[in-house]
Symmetry: C2
Subunit: 358 residues, 2 copies
């Protein structure tokens, strides 16, 4: 145990040495937020300087919205919805405006949200007129006995709760519609999809926050995958798959949703016990063994890496973001890039796109 | 460990002593199946002798259908669908014909299925014309890249796959429609629902089977809850909540679905590590300690009991059935009754309704 403690203290010392004006010296942040805007084949060579800057500015703005809530002592639930509604409004991301198109040429929006202390959760699937799906998910959680509402009924519920309704054309973007046309042409020609087109499935957004009251909340919002048919629902509105939060952890996922559902990825990460020591018999056989327990965020990081590896074994790909109960950010993804960012009360702040960025 | 082995052998000896004509002496069954028809306030005093006999006959028939598949070396997937399609056809259960009614007076059917060796899964939500929702879930698993399809699109998919379509009136039963009328009257009068009406939410059916090839499959089918609105989706079509299977376990759940989703009940049971020995430090403190590892089915039973207790903590109720990889049946429920049955290649066979039945 002493080795671990030494490492933790060293990190804390480094933290305190940095420029953290409004924070008393402590090894744990008072609040923390982590966001994502999807994972995929995001490569420097395919990204213009303008697009790169635009994405970073959007992630920065979403982080700032969440930070403002948390700094004022607001709830992690408010921070998560503040960050996600901005990303939903931004056509750069596959959620809200800028969502991908279904096979029928419509936009069909899914979202979910969960708070870790009470395990309350809400989700919506197949919205077509509610501007901010994440707010509809939150309304399901707070104002209904249900967890998951779907289709027209979910828009009706959101309308009854006073959430902004828009003409379905609001969600339209030329780029996403072009992607549908290309996708349908490929499918009809039975051709293999290029990596670029496969990546049009990605772009889901999500956020996880820890507030000063110690509550973790997590949320996810998406348009799903280009060309989806038959009312397909992916992992984003599935509590346990795309989103989960408990008193230990919060997770938001993005990627090939079906594989994330089959592994209950978000729930698995938040509940996996990677700290267990070997069975007593095994320990006895080994004789004297130094066992260094993992810190909570190390356990979660290991669990997240394990689950993303398992998604890969099922021929899926994608990533997750998360927070431990101590506010430490978790990232794991197997794609060349993931739009992501995090910020804590201690001033640790970063926005990143490519895998090689810290 | 020796204590545990001794107990297992004693059980095996008792098993072999019974009348098991077609089975070589062994401590584990070659195949096994467990089914349920819902959990709720099922009390002897409210049940006529005729209804009691009818339910037992229906459970028996579903078991026999599954047994026939498994005895011939068929797959657990086939056994699960054989048992569930019979229960879907039986108006005594809230699945297929006999499903409860939505607020709008329609039937809206959900189902899911999963095989444990490959983690393949399929599910449907909001069907209204497909006679056997469990077969639609299976078609999603086997013939689409998706896991969950919803609404009209899911019926369209099932039609394209050649599954029997029926007029929505096929699902109508007087009893369930009366329950809707009562429910709406209560809600409109803001009255408290009686226990009997609350129980009209229940009646979900499910099956879990282990075949001679060692593969576990699990499936669940339901009409949801009486008076559901806004496209409400419960736990039954949610892989991880109402249904899960892996190489260790298969689970099908029934009850207040929202609470089962928030706890990812089926996934939690199948992955919970209840065998972990205490941390090494703790062991060192205790000095010499005899630790008796739990057998796989004991671990699962403990995990199932733990999750049903947690559902209760969230003011929910219901139950689960399951199988371990050794074919041992798992039951856990907090209601006065649960329609259930199990059968193994060794001739262990039982159908039960009330809590006090073995």
């Amino acid at each position: 145990m002493s080795l671990l403690i030494a490492l933790t203290l060293a990190t804390a010392a480094a933290t305190d040495a940095a420029d953290h004006h409004d924070e008393a010296p402590t090894s744990e942040p008072r609040w923390s937020i982590v966001i994502h805007g999807g994972a995929g084949t995001i490569l420097r060579e395919n990204m213009s300087a303008e697009k790169d800057a635009e994405i970073r500015a959007a992630l920065d703005a979403a982080l700032r919205a969440g930070e403002a809530v948390l700094r004022d002592g607001g709830s992690s639930m408010d921070a998560v919805t503040a960050a996600i509604t901005l990303l939903e409004d931004d056509p750069n991301f596959n959620a809200g405006r800028g969502a991908v198109f279904t096979w029928e040429g419509t936009n069909s929006l899914d979202a979910s949200i969960m708070r870790g202390d009470t395990l309350e959760a809400g989700a919506v699937a197949g919205l077509s007129t509610t501007r901010h799906p994440i707010l509809a998910a939150r309304a399901v959680m707070e104002d209904s006995p249900h967890v998951l509402l779907s289709g027209e009924g979910a828009d009706t519920f959101a309308t009854q709760k006073g959430l902004e309704q828009v003409d379905p054309a609001y969600f339209y973007t030329q780029e996403r519609h072009d992607a549908l046309i290309r996708y349908k042409a490929h499918v009809e020609a039975q051709e293999q999809l290029s990596q670029l087109d496969i990546d049009h499935k990605f772009g889901t957004v999500g956020a996880v926050a820890l507030d000063v009251h110690g509550v973790i909340s997590a949320g996810t919002s998406t348009g799903g995958m280009t060309g989806k048919r038959w009312g397909r629902i992916g992992d984003s509105p599935i509590i346990g798959a795309g989103t989960y939060a408990n008193d230990r952890c919060g997770i938001s996922a993005t990627g090939t949703g079906e594989k994330f559902i089959r592994l209950s990825v978000a729930h698995a990460i938040c509940t996996m016990d990677v700290s267990a020591t070997p069975p007593a018999e095994e320990l006895a056989k080994r004789g004297t063994t130094l066992i260094i327990p993992l810190a909570p965020h190390q356990q979660l990081q290991r669990a997240a890496d394990h689950l993303i590896a398992r998604v890969g074994e099922l021929d899926g790909s994608g990533g997750v973001i998360g927070l431990s109960s101590t506010g430490a950010p978790i990232y794991s993804f197997d794609t060349p890039g993931m739009y992501r960012g995090h910020s804590t009360s201690q001033g640790w702040r970063a926005v990143a796109i490519y895998k090689d960025e810290e």
